[in-house]
């Protein structure tokens, strides 16, 4: 089986890429291991930031719906419940589909399998009730199940603070947000929503232990200095859930087995596939986008997907050079504007470094 463009992962990057590629006339196959495409978008009940012209102010869940609707209108071929289990030479992707392993040969392959939450090791972290903040968000916003009544959040980045807010909206008591750094990591406006609701931040603290026999019953936190717990500063309280939100890292197993050159980029989550200004990796014809290509946000993921798809369509001869260059520049400009300011500038510098070095 052959397709011009095979996109692995139907999150914001993959959906945006599928729409871009299909509307340029490419023969596209989008595969996703879940029963619905959309990735993390359907968990995002909050209104997105970004530019008004590109869906800012719209809730993530609604952006997901819009993207799905567009893929339907364009008749994009989508395989759901279909994990890609491996990539072989000549851009052949092995995909489990309807109980059969289909090997699809792609002229252009886009890997956008997202990111994974970082784990944190502490005594009791394997007890039921300790979970990634993303897992709690899936439970509450997709499964409509409140994971617990008294919740401690570990990590004050945007994920930790947004998930804490949504757990509170669903009726849970968030006992606090602990943060190892001396300052809050999230956008201030997200932090301010939490503070107005009376939730305290414990800055310079970390989780020391989850206590309980069959499940989490208590959380012990302690001051954290120079990477070490300060003995004697331990505080504890009753909880039934501890959420861990200590960052994400690119999920790039498929890119790795395809032989894509990786590099260590701490600003973007650690080891990640390197790419050029078209999101193309060191293996010609294999592109990466979204969190797989460095952990950022859904808005940047969508634009990276579009950029990769526009470049692929151009390389396939479906998109005239002049128009394609114009389109790609427009997307790059938008990405640049999303990476402005104190929260984005490190990511922007890292991306510039990656593209500047070449693959």
């Amino acid at each position: 089986m052959k397709r011009e463009v095979v996109i692995i992962g139907g999150g914001p990057a993959g959906l945006a890429a599928a729409i871009e590629a299909e509307s340029r006339g490419c023969d596209v196959l989008l595969v996703d291991e879940n029963r619905r495409a959309g990735g993390q978008l359907f968990k995002q009940l909050h209104k997105f930031f970004g530019s008004k012209a590109h869906s800012a102010g719209v809730r993530g869940i609604d952006i997901g719906r819009q993207l799905l609707q567009k893929t339907e209108e364009l008749n994009v071929e989508v395989w759901l419940n279909s994990p890609c289990i491996g990539i072989f030479s000549d851009k052949r992707a092995a995909i489990l589909h309807n109980g059969v392993t289909e090997v699809v040969e792609a002229e252009k392959l886009l890997i956008c399998t997202g990111g994974a939450e970082n784990p944190l090791r502490f005594p009791g972290w394997t007890l039921p009730g300790v979970m990634g903040a993303g897992a709690a968000q899936t439970m509450v916003n997709v499964g409509r199940v409140l994971p617990g009544k008294r919740i401690l959040m570990v990590g004050s980045g945007n994920v930790g603070v947004i998930v804490a807010y949504q757990l509170m909206q669903a009726g849970a008591d968030v006992v606090g947000i602990v943060e190892g750094m001396p300052k809050i990591g999230a956008y201030g406006v997200h932090a301010a929503k939490i503070r107005r609701a009376g939730i305290p931040f414990y800055l310079g603290y970390t989780i020391k232990e989850a206590k309980g026999t069959d499940k989490v019953e208590k959380a012990v936190i302690a001051q954290f200095q120079g990477g070490k717990i300060v003995e004697g500063t331990e505080l504890e309280t009753d909880v039934d859930v501890i959420c861990v939100a200590v960052g994400l890292r690119p999920l790039s197993e498929l890119a790795q087995m395809a032989g894509v050159r990786h590099g260590f980029v701490p600003e973007l989550g650690g080891f990640m596939p390197l790419h050029d200004e078209n999101m193309e990796s060191s293996v010609p014809g294999i592109y990466v986008a979204g969190d797989t290509a460095g952990v950022e946000e859904a808005s940047t993921a969508m634009d990276e997907g579009r950029l990769a798809a526009a470049a692929a369509a151009q390389a396939l001869g479906h998109f005239p050079d002049e128009e394609a260059e114009k389109r790609k520049q427009e997307i790059r400009d938008r990405l640049e504007s999303l990476r402005q300011g104190p929260f984005g500038e490190r990511r922007m510098a890292a991306k510039e470094r990656i593209v500047g070095k070449g693959v």
Binding site: K52, V103, A116, K149, A192, R196, T237, F271
Partner: protein, 284 residues
Amino acid sequence: MGTEKGIIYDGYPSAEEIRQANGWPEEERWEKGPVAVVECVQQIPCNPCEGACPFHAIQIGNPITNTPRVDTEKCVGCGMCVAACPGLAIFVVDKSLGNGLAAVSFPFEYVPLPQKGDQVDALSRAGEFVCKAEVIKVMNPERNDHTPVITLAVPKEYADQVRTMRRLRLPEKGEGFHKAEKDEILDDDVIVCRCEEITAGEIRKAIREYKATTVTEVKRRVRAGMGLCQGRTCGKIVARMIAEETGKPMSEILGSTDRPPVRPVSFGELAADKEESDDERDNV
């Protein structure tokens, strides 16, 4: 919680930060009627407020990380920007109400919503009780997209403090944090690889005694990362432990080699591939 003030320490902006970000209207503007107070003090990539104002009173421009600038002469305090702000950082304050009262409007995304006429607890930016207040307006039209805007009448002297109200349905509050009892737990006993039940002690031993310096070497010696999840969960912890033990930076600690299948797959599903030639199947 610290001694330093400001949004990155307190979680809410100080008056100084709001003033510096041009969010605070001039003194003489207050008496003229309702006006938007924009408490957006950091440069973040966001500009829906600019397009939401029907009077073009909010300006961000380029780059979109500029903090919003309100032209208080153009602003009529209509509140269209309040629900449009994804950060819920815009308020409308009306100090011209008379009778020593001021109106404070704020976004409020919790159920149940209050009713007009309810007496509620008005809270500060830190979520602390400021005063009792009457709900004088509840706005929740479709265009707000589930961000209702509540208006409270508060004594004028509290107009700059009140920024929300206490939720009407509060979760049961347990006891807060208190000093923990002394408890000796050994890190060596903590499980790192959940699939194969490999402890931190076993991994440390692989690093110290068997000289494993990569995640793959640890995997080969003690099976951490060989289970169902293929090290997706523990891989980073193992890498961090190698860094701790060897003093090497994380950038030098290679992850495990990824091989197909990256998801659990039955032999049946693999063998059911009938469309491909035999040599291709051999690669699988």
